[in-house]
Structures are given as C-alpha cells and as structure tokens.
C-alpha cells in the first residue's frame, strides 16, 4: 500500500472549491492583459473593463476544467522520459530562481555568477533523486535582459534533465522557446515531448498581472506546460486561517486554468502553489512553517480532486546555512510532500526563504529526497508468507546475512543513502577524518563535479543553442557571453 497523508476531508475539499467558485462568480479576479480578458469574455466570463475585473458565472470554470489533461510527462534533452506527472507519482526539482548563492568555501551568501551556474548544472546531471533541473538562480554577470534565457541556455547545454523555469518579462518567452526548439528540432517534437515547465504566478489577492497572463497564453499556445504558483500570504495578503487561504488559492488558480484552457484546450499544467504562513514577528514568508507545508499538501489534495497533476514549493529551509534547521525543515517538507503525492516538488537546495541556492545543500537534499521517496514505496510483503521457513533458517544458521531471501531483497527493500549521510560508527567516522556534514557535502560536490560527463545532446544542437543565445545577447548590447569554464 502506498502510504497516503490527508489534511482535508472530502467534504472540506469540496466546500473550499465551491467557495472559490462563488468567489470567482461574485468578486472575480483582476486580469491585466487585454488578450486574456477578451479570451475569457469570449468563453462566457464577465469583464468589467472599468474595474479591470473578470467574474466567472457558474459553468465557465466547469468548461475550463473539462479539457484539463489529467497527466503529462517530461522528457530530457535526448527525448527520454524522466517525469510522469500522474496519480501520486512524486518527482523532485531544485527550488528555482534564487537571488543568492551559498559560496562553497567561505559559506557566505553572495550573488551568483555564470561559473556557479555551470557547476550547478553539472551537479544536477549527477543527482539521481532529483528528476529535473530548474533554472535555479540568476547569474549576475550577464545583462539583466537576458537573465531568464541565459539560465535556460546553460541548463540545456550542460545537463540532460528537463527544466522547470519561467520568464521575468513577457518578451523572454520567444527566445526561451527557440532554445527548446534547437534541442527538439521541431515544434511538433517539442509538443510531443515537453522539455520544460514554466512557472506562472498570480498576484495575491486575486490578480493576474500582464506578464504572468501572457506566460499562460504563450505556453498554452506553444504546448509548453505551466505550473500555476499562487502565493497567498496567510494573515497578510490572504485570510489568516488555512481554510480561508485555500479558498483564495483555489480561486486564483482556477482563474489561471481558465486562461490556459481557453487559449488552448488540453494545455498541460500543474496545479501548484507557494503559499506561506506570513510571520508577523519578522515580516517574512517562512517555507519551513508547519502551516506553509500543510497548505502545500492541501493544495495537492484539492488539485488531485479536480483531476490535475500538482506542484508545490516545499522541502526547503529558511536557515542561512547548512545547519540542523536546514535539515529539519527540508526533511519535514520533503516527507510530507511525498506522503501527499505532490507530483512536482520544488524545494531541493533552497535556503533563506526562496532566496538562496546551495550546491552542498543540493547534495544533502538529494539524499533527503531519496529517503522520502523510499517512504512512498511503503511496506509491502515480499516472499514473507508463510514466514515460518525463514525463521527456521535463522535458527539453523544463526543469521540471515547470506540467506537467499536476504540476497534477493537486500537492495530493493532497504535504501542506502550516499556518504553525505553519516552511518559510520564513531571509531570509523573519527579515523576517516571526523568530517562534519558541511565538509562531507563539499567533498561530494567536488567528487560529482570531477565525475561529470558532458551532456550527450548532439554537437549541432549545442552549437544552435549558442548561436541563439549569442544573437539574443547581441540584441541587448553584449558583444560576447561570459567565458564558460570547460
């Protein structure tokens, strides 16, 4: 049996959805994009132009929900399936788009560079429990105008995994699509085998900005999957109660669903979110809070009940270093995420709310993900019944270390984390240098980078990527891209 966690009863989930529909019918959402507004209006929504608000009579949301795909898949740059967003299948992806980077060495939080990004992409190609990469942070040594596309470029060049990404401005979508076309070869191939998921964030409370509405339209039309990421802040930009926050989140997300589905029925999407229990003592948005994490799980319960694959920002930490707080918040989130069946879990690597990425934390979190994913496999009988013969063997032999049953199930039943998780006895640990976690994590990062094998994306496609990126950079007045380490 796959273990399953629930925070909402069926009745409560249904009530939240019906309240959200009511909210959409009576209060509606602001949509600051002409094209999205007229699209909604064409499909029966009521547009109050003066107020810029759109209300959704009952029936409009039903119509949108009808064409939502229940699942979709992602494929790596070689076209191999990596992510199956269906049912309760869980995949991890690094937390995205941070402003800062934890320096490997000084452990200072600083602004990231392209070189850091290349190291990140190489590392990502090695971490087995994290299924996709994300455009994890913003290198500051390229022009601001190409920041969003440049991250995607480096990711596609160095790592084969699909990419969870997003735009900062509406005009970035075109070049980010061109980069994907360079990998896949054609529009049809890209539609058949999605390579990326784009994040689109409504603005709480109840608003879709011009840029994010545009992302929904562009992605739907290009067959590029999106994830809706509403961020209601409990007690600040949303009701203080978790149920109230969920009502708002549901309304914000369903209005986005309508834009996508009316732009292109069947457009693939993840029902996601990044709610936070706003901390009124510090003016911050803690991702490690119990209420943040429960809300993330509840969003998945609602999303699944509506027939969507889901996403959430969970399994990350607010700590500023790789310490016990970082571990506990991350592990708690990852555990809940897996047990809730969140299909795409954005979290690994993140410190300092959503503001800092760390390679060492990615290595540690990769192990957290592995452990959490083991939980999802649960407890199943494996040649266990009848049980008497095995115990007779144990009595006879004095141990089961070389028993046939043991040899058959040793690797499948038990999960073995990598060396960053210390399982040596004290004597061995001491003799092997007595390394604390941070040192073990750094050693693993270095080992992975050394063992890195270049992406098998054909050279012609790589050259195409570089050509597209160079021309985009030139358009913004950069005569050359930052020098890339080998």
């Amino acid at each position: 049996m796959r273990p399953k966690l629930r925070f909402l009863s069926d009745d409560l989930a249904a009530r939240i959805v019906s309240e959200a529909r009511d909210l959409l019918a009576k209060v509606g959402v602001a949509v600051l994009n002409d094209e999205a507004r007229s699209l909604l209006s064409d499909h029966g929504a009521k547009v109050d132009l003066a107020a810029g608000r759109v209300t959704f009579p009952p029936g409009v949301i039903d119509q949108a929900l009808k064409s939502v795909p229940r699942s979709f898949k992602l494929y790596d740059v070689l076209g191999v399936e990596t992510n199956d967003f269906s049912e309760d299948k869980v995949h991890f992806t690094p937390g995205s788009s941070t402003i800062n980077f934890l320096d490997s060495g000084t452990w200072a939080i600083r602004k990231p560079s392209s070189e850091d990004y290349v190291r990140y992409a190489k590392l990502m190609s090695r971490l087995g429990w994290i299924a996709s990469q994300s455009t994890a942070f913003i290198p500051t040594d390229v022009h601001e105008r190409v920041s969003d596309s440049y991250r995607l470029y480096l990711s596609l060049l160095y790592c084969e995994k699909p990419v969870v990404t997003g735009t900062f401005t509406a005009r970035a979508f075109q070049v980010m699509r061109d980069l994907q076309l360079a990998v896949r070869g054609s529009d049809a191939a890209l539609r058949a085998k999605p390579l990326t998921v784009f994040s689109a964030c409504p603005t709480s409370p109840l608003k879709w900005s011009g840029v994010t509405s545009q992302t929904l339209l562009d992605c739907a039309r290009a067959g590029v999957p999106v994830e809706y990421i509403a961020m209601p802040l409990t007690g600040f930009m949303a009701p203080v109660t978790l149920v109230g926050t969920l009502v708002q989140h549901t309304a914000e997300t369903l209005s986005g669903v309508a834009i996508s589905q009316f732009a292109s029925p069947g457009a693939p999407a993840l029902y996601g979110g990044s709610p936070a229990a706003f901390d009124v003592r510090y003016e911050t948005t803690p991702m490690g809070a119990a209420e943040t994490q429960m809300t993330d799980c509840a969003i998945t319960e609602i999303g699944h009940s509506l027939g969507f694959p889901t996403q959430a920002y969970i399994g990350m930490s607010d700590s500023k270093e790789l310490d016990a707080q970082a571990g506990l918040e991350t592990a708690m989130g990852a555990t809940l995420a897996v047990l809730s069946g969140i299909n795409n879990v954005s979290g690994p690597g993140i410190l300092d709310f959503e503001n800092c990425q760390s390679l060492e934390k990615l290595v540690l979190d990769n192990e957290v993900c592995g452990l959490a994913l083991r939980l999802a496999r649960g407890i199943e009988p494996k040649d266990d019944f009848p049980s008497t013969p095995l115990f007779e063997e144990l009595n006879r032999e004095g141990h089961l270390l070389i028993a046939k049953h043991t040899r058959k199930h040793l690797k499948g039943e038990l999960h073995y984390p990598g060396p960053v998780i210390d399982r040596a006895n004290h004597g061995r640990w001491k003799e092997e240098g007595g390394l604390p976690l941070l040192a073990r994590a750094k050693r693993e990062v270095d080992a992975h980078l050394k063992a890195y094998a270049p992406s098998r994306l054909p050279a012609a496609a790589k050259a195409d990527l570089t050509r597209i990126m160079e021309s985009e950079a030139r358009r913004h007045g950069m005569d050359r891209l930052p020098r890339r380490p080998g």
């Binding site: 500051t140 601001e144 105008r145 920041s147 900062f168 401005t169 900005s209 003592r281 003016e283």
Partner: protein, 210 residues
C-alpha cells in the same frame, strides 16, 4: 499623566480612546506639538521597540499606527504649521520591471505610522517618475524597492535621475528588498538601506534628525 495615557492607549491600538484623549489634552490647554511628541510619537516609538524585541507583532504596530492617525486628525488643525514637524515626505515605489510590492507597501504603512507623509507611486515605476515626483512633492526621501536580481540595477538609474535634476544630496535615497544589500546601497550612492520596514522607519528617523 495624560501623555502616558495617550501613549498607552496608542500602544493598545485603541482608535476611540486616542483621539478622545488628544481632544481632552487640547481642551486642557496643552500644546499640540507636545501632545504629538510626548503622547503619540512616544507611544509609537515604544511600539517600535517592542516590535523589534518581538513582544508585539506586526498587526499590533499597524493598529497602533491607525490609532495614531486618529489622534493626528484631531491634532492637525491645531498644529502651528500644516503637516508634521521634522519627519518630511517620502516618495516611495517599486522600481521599473518589478511587480513585487508587498514589502514596499509594508514600508509605506510603517513610515506613515511613524508620522512621515508618504506618496506611493506603486510598482513598475520608471526612474524618471521617481525624480519628477520627488521634485514636485518636495520630498525629503525617495524610497526604492526591488525584489528581482534583474530590477535591482534600476535603483542606480533612479539615483542618476535625481542627480540630473539637481536633487542629488538634497533628497535622501533609501533602498530595500531581498536582493539589495548595504554594500549595494553604498555602491550606488544611496543614503540608507534597511532590511525590513521597522528598521527602515528607525533609520529614516535617525537620518531625518540628522
């Protein structure tokens, strides 16, 4: 002592009692400037300290600010000069290309609460508009917020725009938002960096006092 009562009620966020007590103080012939300083502002400062010590939370601060405004509306017609002494005007906004305004709004609310007059230009504000508004409003401060790596550099352009209007040095520039650091503030020639709204208020007050 009535000043203490005002300050205490203000800390409790009592929107009814604060203006009542202010009227009472004026009826007793106390100077409006003193009622403001020793009653309202003293109360607000105490809330600020308790907030920093995590004895009270953000909603308490905002309620106190609301009570303060209720008190000020009674006081305002009686104050010798129009507006509030020594605090000055702040023109604030989120820089061009950036739609994050939660932090900026919080800073604006807290500045208002502390007695600054705030002109909020909203979000996605081009550099030239900051400079224009600062000139038009006779602002003492321009407050800039950025939450994106890609929009933080716009802050430098605002500093530039202020300079080219001859406002460099005259209008103090305060900056904040997740990517912004003290070092960056120094680098672009901003006068003040603050990591949150409460510290923004404290530092702006200190700078306004000179």
């Amino acid at each position: 002592m009535i000043y203490d009562d005002i300050a205490r009620r203000l800390q409790e966020g009592d929107e009814d009692q604060v203006p009542r007590l202010v009227s009472q103080a004026l009826a007793h012939g106390l100077a409006p400037e003193e009622v403001l300083e020793k009653g309202l502002i003293a109360g607000m400062n105490a809330v600020g300290v308790k907030f920093r010590e995590r004895e009270v939370f953000l909603p308490d601060v905002l309620l106190a600010a609301k009570a303060m405004h209720a008190g000020i509306s009674v006081l305002k017609p009686k104050l010798a000069q129009e507006g509030l002494p020594a605090r000055g005007k702040v023109v604030i906004g989120t820089v061009q290309g950036d739609l994050h305004d939660i932090g900026k709004n919080l800073v604006a609310i807290m500045l208002k609460g502390a007695g600054f007059e705030v002109v909020d230009l909203g979000k996605d504000v081009p550099p030239e508009r900051f400079a224009e508004a600062a000139e038009k409003e006779g602002a003492a401060f321009v407050g800039l917020s950025a939450l994106l790596t890609t929009t933080m550099p716009v802050m430098a352009k605002v500093v530039e725009a202020l300079r080219s209007r001859g406002l460099g040095g005259k209008v103090k520039v305060m900056v904040g938002g997740a990517p912004v650091t003290q070092d960056y503030a120094r680098e672009i020639g901003a006068d003040l960096y603050a990591f949150d709204a409460a510290s923004a208020v404290e530092r702006a007050q200190a700078l306004a006092r000179g």
